[in-house]
């Protein structure tokens, strides 16, 4: 299993697991910065300090100065085993030494000389927000319990929630069953504490009855070769069983057009009966009486339909399929009239940009709680260059994207509100070479029509995928994913340009998209750069 290790030049795999700081010269840098009495910020990797510190959190470390170390302090120290800097909690002081241990690991790291404690973690930020828990007085409690192997915060908290709660006023009949909406399940809280599978996206076919200009995965409906390569019901069941045993709760069925598969009903019911919650993405043009009956009897968690246009001319200019607009309207009405929960969305395209306000109104009229549009078009999964040209020609210019975002008041307010967090000057000091800073492969994965396991639906690079016809899902999940997440880049223009860019939160760049755009996982993409800078100037102007 050295797929990733054998990757292209510039990529390397380093051992994961421990919450160690990345970069060869980081220790020197860290010592130098802290010696000057200046706090140091960096992005953490690993899970050993979960739930306080999670993979990808940004930590601020203050110099120790003259402060006395105390049990409970979360500190950076030089790991005695490998002389690399790491972040763990002090659980005990011992005559000039400290005993440090990760909150989420069973054994302490051993004795560390006090002088090897470089600094104290004073702040943890996750997605731009400060995490409070575990740095103050609670830190001492955690140290106390942790030193006795008793730190089990998520579990005890969850148990409390699972106790029978009297419904309504005291003295009334107590309720024995807790019915909860999905987002309220305390399990989520629990699973947030560690890497664990929650959901997967499955493209049950790459074929589609439409031929949309902007689509990254639509092979012709009659493509017999593609059809032959599709996973059989039996193969799907084997993978689903593994996914369920790993903890998957939710599965998104997409395509291509999923309803094109003649055995859609069998696949749907098989997955449903495993206790998976299912969502379906469809273009609605093939919705039949039978589908409606199926969905009524075995309700999906949601159905999402994309509205490419609200006139026949625009819709069919995008889909390149005569008659598709009428089929779409008929199918959508069918779903809505039968009371099924449908969510509508659209893509911002060159072909439909003039009609976008009408499309938005059409969607909002029919689905009150939800509407979104996406102005970013992914390039092809198969890197088909002719089709990529179609996609590029449908892309909006950075200025058009910004204008659209500004016209969507809700969306722009959200951007504005987060303004100082969207532009993060601190990123300019990042020295991390890791390619993935996102959540890919932490709680979900994507499964392709021919059984290709990916960390996310866009990450198609050959070093990052596994064929589940030949390997088990567990291998992919437990061996491949950590390897891919540890992939680093040594590429100069990536490290000096993208990695240290303060606009990274405004940018479409990610390793997966970089590969689709350039054939390399760590290459800057000019179009993304222009979009990010256009967004920046729009934000700064207001």
């Amino acid at each position: 299993m050295s797929k990733a290790a054998a990757g292209k030049p510039g990529l390397r795999v380093v051992r994961g697991g421990e919450l160690s700081l990345s970069g060869e010269s980081l220790l020197d840098l860290l010592e130098a910065v802290l010696a000057k009495g200046v706090p140091f910020r960096f992005r953490a990797r690993g899970f050993s300090m979960s739930p306080l510190i999670k993979d990808g959190d940004v930590l601020t470390v203050a110099p120790r100065g003259e402060a006395r170390l105390r049990p409970g302090d979360t500190v950076t120290f030089i790991n005695p085993l490998n002389r690399k800097p790491a972040v763990h909690r002090i659980i005990r002081l011992d005559r000039g030494f400290v005993v440090v241990k990760g909150d989420n690991v069973a054994e302490p790291d051993g004795l560390v000389p006090e002088r090897d404690v470089l600094g104290i973690v004073t702040s943890v930020e996750r997605r731009g927000k400060k995490v409070r828990f575990g740095l103050g007085a609670e830190g001492r409690l955690i140290a106390f319990f942790s030193s006795r192997g008793l730190f089990r915060l998520p579990l005890s908290a969850a148990k409390r929630i699972f106790r029978p709660a009297p419904r309504g006023m005291a003295g009334m009949k107590k309720s024995y069953v807790t019915g909860r909406r999905l987002p309220d399940i305390p399990l989520w809280e629990k699973m947030r504490e560690k890497r664990g599978l929650i959901s997967f996206d499955y493209e049950i076919t790459a074929r589609c009855n439409l031929n949309c200009r902007h689509c990254y995965i639509n092979l012709p409906a009659g493509d017999q070769e593609a059809k032959k390569r599709e996973l059989s019901l039996h193969e799907i069941e084997r993978i689903a069983d593994e996914a369920v045993s790993l903890g998957a709760v939710w599965c998104l069925l997409s395509g291509g057009e999923p309803l094109l598969r003649e055995d859609f009903r069998e696949i749907y019911l098989m997955l449903k009966k495993k206790g998976l919650l299912l969502s379906v993405f469809t273009n609605a043009t093939l919705i039949s009486d039978e589908h409606v009956r199926l969905f009524k009897e075995y309700p999906p968690r949601g159905i999402e339909v994309t509205v490419y246009g609200v006139t026949e001319a625009t819709y069919e200019k995008v889909t390149r399929k005569p008659g598709s607009f009428r089929a779409f309207r008929k199918g959508l009405d069918f779903l809505l009239e039968s009371g099924l929960k449908v969510r509508l969305k659209t893509m911002g395209l060159r072909t439909n940009i003039a009609e976008l306000p009408e499309i938005a109104a059409f969607c909002r009229e029919r689905t009150k709680d939800f509407f979104r549009f996406d102005p970013f078009l992914n390039l092809r999964f198969d890197r088909d260059e002719a089709r990529n040209e179609d996609i590029r020609s449908e892309r909006l210019s950075p200025e058009e994207i910004v204008a659209l975002e500004k016209s969507d008041r809700e969306r722009f307010h959200a951007l504005e509100k987060n303004c100082d967090k969207l532009i993060v000057p601190e990123f300019e000091r990042l020295t991390c070479g890791h390619l993935l800073h996102c959540g890919a492969g932490l709680r979900n994965f994507a499964l392709g029509y021919e059984g290709t396991f990916r960390l996310c639906s866009s990450l198609w690079h050959q070093d990052c995928v596994m064929n589940l016809r030949e390997a088990g899902l567990r291998d992919a999940w437990e061996i491949l994913v950590p390897q891919v997440r540890e992939m680093e880049s040594g590429r100069k223009d990536f490290l000096e340009r993208c990695r240290v860019c303060s606009l990274v939160n405004l940018c479409l760049w990610c390793a997966a998209n970089a590969y689709l755009e350039t054939g390399e996982l760590d290459k800057p993409v000019e179009y993304f750069c222009r979009v990010a800078h256009a967004r920046e100037s729009a934000i700064r102007k207001t």
Binding site: P164, G179, R180, L182, I185, G302
Partner: protein, 103 residues
């Protein structure tokens, strides 16, 4: 009118519900419509509820389950019987269990 539990009848989990253990918790996932009030509603049982659920194998009546639990918990039998009845009534009302069994 809520369904009444017959303490000597047999009840089993409905085939329309999948019971799954995730992270050590028992989660009941309805697969057909009309069980949850909302499409994405799931159910969880607390520890006592889970003990009762696991004994509901279509061979033991609610009364027998209560008697077993009373022995395990060394509690007053009447009280446990009330709890078993309460839980089963709620599960029956939501079609999470159905009358049947004896297999």
């Amino acid at each position: 009118m809520d369904p009444k539990i017959k303490m000597d009848a047999l009840y089993v989990p409905s085939p329309d519900v999948v019971a799954r253990e995730i992270e050590g918790e028992l989660i009941l996932v309805p697969i057909t419509s009309g069980i949850g009030d909302l499409e994405d509603e799931l159910f969880t049982l607390n520890e006592t509820g889970r003990d009762i659920w696991e004994k509901m194998d279509g061979k033991r009546s609610p009364r027998a389950i209560a008697a077993e639990l009373a022995a395990e918990y060394s509690a007053v039998p009447g009280e446990i019987e009330e709890d078993v009845r309460g839980l089963l009534e709620e599960l029956l009302k939501r079609r999470i269990v159905v009358e049947g069994g004896g297999r």
